[in-house]
């Protein structure tokens, strides 16, 4: 009997290692695969396409004997959570062994790289341009324009850098892709290098992702000959959230403090070691493999408005059905949270949803008709960022969340610019004054003024976007900032 169990960090954290060992002990053959992304079912056991989860060591005998009815979810690929998705970037999730070159090639791997080499660098950039792909890290900058700029920049030495410093709470798609389908990222980087004229690539992975680091190192070693002459390296971060900002990341790669650089010059002109550099997110580069393999028009056929293609959305926090949900742009927040996600895990009413990480806005259920689209979220004073959706139930204290946003900014600020360095600390103090009860209206006006300064005066998104969670909490949940509510506690 062949049993498939994920070796993704979520599965491991939920006991997959002991579970796999127990199956081996019972005489089964165990194959370790990537995760399907249905995290509430992890560790998920797959036998002949049928799923059982969440499984523990105690369930092994029953599953093998065929009477684990309570855990059975039927055919995994037909589960509504999977069947409802449009998986392009995560097409292999759950289906392949992460480090198997055979599995990768058998599922269309390296076709994009072959085609890029066949059509040449300029046509490769055109293809990416035509796909409408925008940076999946959060900023949403058109990838084709970035590549064209790097390709046109003078200089013989250029770099491709992958930003895998996925620090936003509520996001794990980069991690899942690196752990589950590392060759897809490697192929995307090889295509990018080919397109912009680079021979060296760096993947900057945060240190909190040791499993991803190991998988990538093994995958790079195994695919060295395939991507040659491009040479890829993994670099490990050191626990600084701000290094997810591209110029800070470049400084960190150079061995410096991860301080933000003023732009211009753009990294595309003067990036790593002063050379023209394309910095792209993991999911952007992974999408490239698909775009080049199947064509720009196939990708661009998905989505809405200027948001083309699919977005891997991460359902997290207090949500019943958490995990990875890749779908075309346009799905509404409410469909995601209440439909796909099934509401809260605690069973209590949803009160707030933070979209786009620690720098994203908190949305109340009244705004659940907002479609997942860069422009629609911007119009609602929010951002989709890296696609993390963190659900909170009605026990959340939004004043505390606003205070945390300032706290987080203070802890992670690189210190380069004043609005962020000083503003974060002053902001937290002012929220404390609001909560202490002395003239909250005047203090909240100060917070709004400070947020205005941080938004327009900060060098990067850390200081610039911290106002999103703060102001959205104040705007949509004013009752949590009222003095009488505090006094009653």
């Amino acid at each position: 009997m062949k049993v498939r169990i994920s070796d993704d960090a979520v599965a491991l954290a939920c006991g997959a290692e002991a579970l796999a060992a127990a199956f081996v002990q019972h005489g089964a053959e165990v194959e370790r695969v990537s995760s399907w992304g249905m995290h509430w079912l992890e560790p998920l056991v797959e036998i002949d396409g049928m799923g059982f989860g969440p499984a523990s060591v105690d369930d092994v005998a029953a599953i093998m004997a065929g009477n684990a009815g309570a855990l059975a979810i039927g055919p995994i690929a037909e589960h509504p959570f999977i069947a409802g998705q449009q998986r392009l970037t995560f097409a292999r999730a759950g289906r392949t062994r992460p480090l198997s070159l055979d599995d990768y090639a058998a599922t269309g791997g390296w076709k994009g790289l072959e085609r890029a080499r066949a059509i040449g660098p300029a046509a490769t950039v055109d293809e990416v341009m035509a796909s409408g792909l925008r940076g999946r890290g959060g900023a949403g900058f058109p990838t084709g324009i970035k590549w064209r700029t790097v390709a046109a920049a003078p200089g013989a030495c250029k770099y491709i850098v992958c930003n895998a410093d996925e620090g936003d709470s509520g996001t794990f798609a980069d991690r899942m892709l690196m752990e589950g389908d590392p060759y897809c990222l490697i192929e995307g980087m090889a295509i990018a290098a080919h397109a912009i004229g680079a021979e060296t690539g760096y993947i900057y992975v945060r240190s909190e992702y040791p499993h991803a680091v190991r998988k990538l190192e093994a995958a790079i070693a195994a695919s060295r000959a395939i991507v040659a002459p491009v040479v890829l390296h993994v670099r490990v971060g050191a626990g600084a959230y701000v290094c997810g900002e591209e110029t800070s990341l470049l400084n960190s790669l150079e061995g410096k403090r991860g301080e933000v650089r003023a732009k211009p010059p753009l990294p595309a002109i003067e990036g790593l070691f002063g050379r023209p550099t394309a910095v792209n997110n993991v999911l952007t580069l992974a999408a490239i493999s698909h775009i080049l393999a199947d064509g720009a028009d196939v990708y661009a056929a998905y989505g809405m408005g200027r948001s083309r293609g699919t977005k891997p959305i991460q359902l997290a926090g207090n949500i019943r059905h958490g995990g990875l949900y890749e779908v075309a742009f346009g799905i509404t927040l409410g469909e995601l949270v209440n439909g796909v996600g099934g509401g809260t895990a605690s069973g209590r009413p949803v009160r707030a949803v933070q979209v786009g990480g620690p720098l994203g806005a908190y949305f109340p259920p009244a705004l659940f008709d907002t479609p997942f689209d860069y422009e629609a979220f911007a119009a609602a004073d929010g951002l989709i960022g890296h696609g993390g959706v963190v659900v909170f139930d009605d026990t959340v204290d939004m004043a505390r969340q606003a205070r945390f946003a300032f706290d987080f900014c203070a802890a992670e600020s690189c210190g380069k610019c004043t609005p962020c360095r000083i503003g974060a600390t002053r902001g937290r103090e002012t929220i404390d004054k609001v909560l202490a009860g002395g003239d909250p209206a005047a203090q909240l006006a100060l917070v709004a003024d400070l947020c205005e300064t941080m938004k327009f005066g900060s060098l990067c998104a850390l200081g610039g976007f911290t106002p999103y969670p703060v102001m959205s909490a104040i705007t949509h949940f004013p009752e949590d900032f009222a003095a009488e509510q505090v006094a009653a506690e």
């Binding site: 996001t171 050191a238 403090r257």
Partner: protein, 148 residues
């Protein structure tokens, strides 16, 4: 005796340095290796790295002190990194903190980390590169006791 010990120490430092000297921007990989081997990057290591890379001590110290991962003094106790970012907050981690600190009673260092990428199955923690999820008070106490 003391001399030979310190020269062994320096030889290990130099090995960590020379492993990466040929690569571009070698400082962070070197610091990671030194910390993995010695548990910290102390003043002596800072001087040695600075000399090898032709940097000032201030530059190396600036880097060591910038990043949360690097420490200038070794932590003798086992370290449990508990995620206290928003997704784990939404799943109740804040209610576990005081109990965990009391249980650890100084035997285990409980450090805050912002996000382990396990945001759908939190509260989550990492101990020595191993990850643990779906923590409640009892499971967290078990983890702490297993380390203490």
């Amino acid at each position: 005796m003391v001399d030979s010990l310190s020269s062994q120490h320096d030889a290990r430092l130099d090995a960590a340095i020379s492993r990466h000297l040929g690569s571009e921007g070698p400082l962070l990989p070197i610091l990671h290796d030194i910390q993995a081997e010695f548990g910290c990057i102390d003043d002596h290591a800072t001087r040695r790295v600075a000399a090898a890379l032709n940097l000032s001590r201030a530059e190396v110290h600036g880097v060591v002190s910038f990043y949360h991962d690097f420490r200038e003094r070794a932590e003798a106790r086992p370290i449990l990194k508990l995620c206290r970012a928003e997704a784990c907050q939404a799943r109740g981690v804040e209610a576990l903190v005081a109990g965990a600190q009391a249980r650890a009673a100084g035997r285990v260092a409980i450090e805050t980390v912002y996000c382990l990428g396990l945001c759908s199955v939190g509260p989550a923690a990492m101990i020595g590169g191993k990850v643990h999820a779906r923590l409640d008070a009892a499971r967290l106490a078990d983890l702490i006791e297993a380390q203490a």
